[in-house]
Symmetry: C2
């Protein structure tokens, strides 16, 4: 792919992706994304109690989850987790070198890593990669940038939304990687991790915008956007030690976005839309996946109930195998909802696959099997569960479970 | 297999298993296990909020979870869930016919069903099966009995333990089925289910003993035995709508077992041992499984923490794929422990695969890769996780995740 442009579409950003030999393949494995000037930033990281060195570094850079930075350096092929003090020094060195080369302080540079666990970063290569990437910084083709953060991903995942505010257009762009060990539960401050820890595949999302917005306000709209998108994805229920999502704003758009303004609401909607598109792309590209599954729960007594019911279905291996097999097996949907901590009254429950109602009033209903199977044969499967007990809703994103998922993860060797 | 005897080894029981045509295969699909006289019984059923008609019937027979009964009738091939009022009538009819034929009241007869969901029981065949089974009641070959409760199980699973009490020997025997949709969370009284619900594969355990013990005391020792065994198993994290475990005591042993006695403690240990053996056999025979995985957590701050950490590892698809691939991927173990609600301090954490320490003091340690791989190549894999924070322990049982699991569950059609 050539000429793909997304992450540098908003004014004020430069990026580059290079191959420096961390991955054994010839694919790009190191990316640098920086601002021409300082950037307002909001950060969310994994809530796993075991975290990698790069996550610890990011929390040092932005201890409150937001602030001013200059950019981020990311590598794939090695996650720099379970690497002890050396790993922490390496993460810091990545930040320091990148910062020095662009004329910034290391405390202004975030770091994210994804890939193999328990091995130290090949720092000579990493340093060479950082130098090449900084030398190549530009805007024009962001393909190498997104490829440089991919591991088992099969597709380049990006999204761009433009929104018209009073003072002119604002652009929000984003890229994401993540295919396995994906059940993000991003928070502003996870439990303070000590030392380093296990990891592997991971989600990394980087969003850029030219919006003129203060870091605290940016964090205020990023949090709900992440909750409804990345945190609503589960590929395999396994929350990585390295999940990282960051949004950076260059402030190049004419009009500042003020707290409480209509502009902020519009911007928040655009940011949420980009996060949701990336989240859906991530679920669709789950390891071994052949389709995206969208689980919509409505009628829950509370938001927590709605989320619990949706996640129970999205994490059910039996349900996901049934979808893979094209089988409208509503019994597994009802089982999953019933085992969840959400309040469920079978007689009130209603389940639809696509537009086909398959379960109502406590029992299966006669339904158009062919219509349900046709829906399941498509690239996007929608399951709607109405709990019939309240007004709360939640949408979760997942994918089918295939024999390929097992192959990918049984063959991947430490 | 001929002449296998287990469930009727304790004095006072008769059993039979027959083929009556509920299953499409020629395998047995209906079993009756009854006492020659009345039986003290303790019952535990799924805590899924959606439950099948047979579970509802059992709760009607033993509303407090224990009492006097005469036996149980079980079928495979059709779970009688999501079958509405008709399903409830059918479950009751199974109890009524079996009871009448042995000269008991229907309120003394438990019912359990496992198999396909949402279809009514073929009651003409079921009635014929019950008649044949009652006519065949005896003791000698219990093979047909255990085969009659199997679905995707590949092995007949039974266990027998004898224990010497002051008044003479007591025998505890048991059979179990369960291969998929297995993450039992058996309780004495689940939430009151209304109507029927989804289901499918399921665990059903029937234990028999000649012990002379009152129903309440029996329930008192059954509960902890189930907690440490069946409830410690997870094959695929999916809790069935039909899980049922029952222990029945004929009282034929000479000496009554009194509350608080040394005899009760010995009997409790024997009962726990049978449950544990059955639980391990069930995990080993999980759908697509090639090995049993035992997760031992120690050093937890609380029992709840120990269980949460063990179950997080046991339910991690990534970990289970790694074991399937023979890969000592401790990163996935550490990830799973870290994402659990259990308190974890990476620097305190210690992980062993077999006898090989692979992680300590917050990072991977150099280890004998061949020794770890040899352990993983065996039929039983043990993972020990010491949280280093307290004294609580928990052991969970699971199996590896193979491409066959996906095939079995993607090809199974509603």
């Amino acid at each position: 792919m050539s000429g793909a442009r997304h992450i540098t579409l908003p004014e004020g950003f430069l990026a580059a992706g290079v191959h420096c030999g961390i991955k054994t393949s010839r694919q790009e494995d190191l990316a640098v994304i920086v601002g021409e000037g300082r950037l307002a930033a909001a950060l969310m990281t994994t809530r796993n109690q075991v975290v990698g060195a790069p996550v610890l570094w990011c929390r040092r850079v932005l201890p409150r989850g937001f602030g001013w930075i200059r950019g981020i350096v990311i590598n794939s092929g090695c996650s720099n987790v379970c690497t002890g003090r050396r790993g922490q020094r390496d993460a810091e060195a990545m930040a320091a070198l990148t910062a020095r080369l662009i004329g910034a302080a290391k405390e202004e540079m975030l770091v994210a890593s994804t890939g193999i666990i328990g091995q130290p970063l090949p720092m000579a290569r990493v340093r060479r990669g950082i130098r090449s990437a900084v030398a190549a910084l530009g805007r024009g083709d962001d393909g190498p940038v997104v490829r440089a953060i991919m591991t088992t991903d099969t597709r380049e995942k990006s999204a761009v939304v433009q929104v018209r505010l009073r003072g002119g257009d604002v652009t929000v762009a984003g890229i994401v990687k993540g295919a396995g060990m994906i059940a993000p539960h991003l928070g502003c401050l996870g439990p303070a991790g000590r030392g380093s820890g296990g990891g592997g595949a991971t989600m990394i999302a980087v969003l850029t915008t030219d919006a003129a917005i203060a870091p605290r306000a940016l964090a205020g709209v990023f949090k709900p956007a992440v909750r409804g998108s990345f945190n609503a994805v589960t590929i395999d229920s396994d929350e990585s030690t390295s999940d990282t999502a960051v949004v950076m704003a260059s402030g190049r758009a004419a009009q500042p976005i003020r707290a409480g303004s209509a502009g902020l609401r519009k911007f928040a909607a655009a940011l949420a839309e980009v996060c949701r598109e990336l989240a859906m792309a991530m679920a669709r590209d789950g390891e071994g996946a052949t389709k995206l599954i969208v689980i919509r729960v409505s009628g829950a007594r509370s938001g927590a109930d709605a989320e619990a019911a949706a996640k129970a279905v999205a994490n059910s291996p039996l349900f996901k195998c049934a979808v893979h097999g094209g089988d409208p097996n509503w019994g597994r949907i009802v089982m999953a909802v019933g085992k969840s901590p959400a309040k469920v009254v079978p007689a009130r429950l209603r389940v639809r696959i696509g537009n086909v109602t398959v379960f109502a009033r406590g029992r299966g209903v006669k339904f158009d099997l062919r219509a349900a199977e046709e829906h399941l044969a498509g690239e996007t499967v929608t399951v709607s569960v109405d709990l019939g007990l309240g007004k709360a809703t939640y949408t979760a994103y997942t994918c089918d479970l295939s024999a390929n998922y097992v192959r990918i993860n049984a063959d991947y060797h430490t």
